[in-house]
Symmetry: C2
Subunit: 356 residues, 2 copies
């Protein structure tokens, strides 16, 4: 019997089986996380690129805005980055800087705050830590469990989901190929372009392989997708793109307009922005960087190297040189509204499918 | 309210909203089509590569085995093929022929039976004609309608689905990226590798854009996938891979074993076999042909050129050089059984999800 009251609601202390994706780099603000949690879902802070002080401030802000559970999403990648081919890549990026009228910055390393971010989450007793790009190590899992923190890990294949369960995760996100933003794949040796299994295939195969609850991600943007996820055996749906145009999101206005204007045909999976495969709306940066034939630096180095371009493009309202992460359900994402209203629409739509 | 008794059941005269995919080239035999139709679904003859006489025989065989509705699936591609680069491609194929111990055959053209196949279907009053790679023209649609034949067209984007509806199709298959076999894409100028929108994204976006019933395809292999499809707004699910190992299927035994043994990670979309993007289990042919860097000939020429290799490989039980078309839900496809039992399992699974 399909129902919105799944076990994971009890596990996480939420009212509805809806998890807002941890869209790092701006969109998933403390305000958005708090609004989604207040509306009965699990709001998520996109903390991956936050420096320690900024992370502490953001967690404090969520706690002062809601007493309900929320998640903090961090990257736990084992990738080391590599600047060996920096000169070649900077040469390929020069035309973008020239068009934006900015100078090439000095770069020699990428910040790696992952362990500090985790420690801050434990110290501040956030209700849920969700991870992508890898798994917490044994000591971290122990520390989280001792602090009463639930762990959600992201997987893009059945094998990754099994590893997530073995690592001690309380739930696993099955990220289908439709999802916007970075592929969560951590078996990158087997899947250099990210594993790209569609949600309707991935979810039931993971459900059959693990005992922990499965959260479906990728392509879910309304109540239809949510009920489909539950039918596939998931206990919740994770939704990203639709919350990109929530009023509380930190998404750049030009980026939001592209989300509203684009269709299902317009996204691609690219490494052009970060060195890691990620799905976004095709724009000039992707097309022109790929045309140079230059191999991106490994993640996170390439992300560091393109940052000044993305930042300048944002300041100049130039969506052609920004990373426009988005999933494939773009025709379902049209109206800016408060997160609470998005939640309400999804829930009412889902309930009407169940009740007829 | 979710139910298995959707409008399309009435439209097509079937009991359950399950359509067996028209897997051409051997698997989708008259026996399979008749067995699925007898079990209450819509069986489909994979007629695309059948010469006129063989098609007539096959239709007669289905009619003598069942009085229930069935479909005949044909290709209606506008692609012309081109043998200009034949010598270069044959050079890349030489190592495969050498290993199989066969001679390079004389080739100068591809058979194009599409219009004859259509005319035979009309003359023999098949209940349903389903098409891929393009749309029937106005005269064909008129001829089919006059004969009381229902038309199902395949689409891989919202725009293609709108064109299908405009062409006069009675229903449209929304083929998600998870699907095995050829991408049905006919907007190949925009999508040279085939449009690859996941089922959970594609279906609701097409449902919102057309008034004719939508059939979800791609990744559906059990009752969970079927109910997910209905939740997304589809009126039926089309199932291919699971029927590849039905006892009535004409699938080669070595191919069936690969279906049973493989996982969700092992398929790729490739043009190596036919010149048209298609999803199958990665084997030596795909890997080694792609490694030569040789661009395949356009469809259907490339399909014609690789045929002797695939035929010889089948005779030699060599699944490394056969085309192993398969979708991404391979872990859900494990047991050989009669098609009626596959139908029964899917229906019971679906009913148990609905009733709890």
């Amino acid at each position: 019997m399909l129902t919105l009251q799944t076990n994971i609601c009890h596990l996480l202390g939420i009212e509805y089986p809806i998890i807002q994706a941890g869209m790092a780099g701006g969109p998933a603000t403390p305000e958005l996380a708090a609004a989604v949690s207040e509306a009965g879902g699990l709001g998520t802070l996109g903390a991956a690129y936050l420096a320690p002080d900024a992370l502490r401030e953001a967690i404090t802000a969520i706690k002062s805005a809601t007493s309900k559970p929320f998640a903090v999403n961090i990257f736990v990648s084992k990738e080391k980055g590599d600047f060996t081919r920096l000169v070649e890549v900077q040469r390929a990026l020069a035309p973008f800087r020239s068009e934006l009228n900015i100078e090439e910055p000095e770069i020699s390393s990428s910040a790696d705050w992952s362990r500090q971010q985790f420690d801050i989450c434990v110290k501040m007793s956030v209700p849920v830590i969700s991870t992508a790009f890898g798994l917490l190590d044994e000591a971290q899992v122990q520390a989280a469990k001792s602090a009463g923190i639930k762990i959600i890990a992201m997987a893009t294949t059945v094998e990754e989901a099994k590893l997530a369960e073995q690592s001690g995760a309380d739930a696993v996100v099955a990220q289908g190929s439709e999802a916007g933003g970075h592929r969560g794949t951590f078996s990158l040796d087997d899947h250099p372009d990210g594993a790209q299994i569609g949600t309707i295939s991935l979810v039931p195969q993971i459900v059959d392989a693990v005992r922990i609850p499965v959260i479906a991600a990728g392509g879910i943007a309304d109540g239809r997708g949510l009920i489909a996820a539950l039918a596939l055996g998931a206990e919740a749906g994770q939704i990203g793109t639709r919350f990109l145009i929530a009023e509380e999101a930190g998404t750049h206005t030009a980026y939001q307009q592209r989300i509203i204007d684009s269709t299902e045909e317009q996204t691609v999976i690219t490494k052009s922005f970060s060195g890691r495969p990620a799905r976004g709306i095709r724009n000039r940066f992707i097309t022109e960087f790929e045309k140079t034939g230059t191999k991106p630096l490994p993640f996170p180095s390439h992300n560091t190297v393109t940052r000044d371009i993305r930042t300048a493009a944002a300041k100049q309202n130039n969506s052609e040189f920004m990373s426009l992460w988005a999933g494939q359900s773009l025709r379902l994402v049209n109206d800016k509204m408060p997160a609470a209203q998005i939640m309400q629409e999804i829930i009412q739509n889902a309930q009407s499918i169940l009740k007829g």
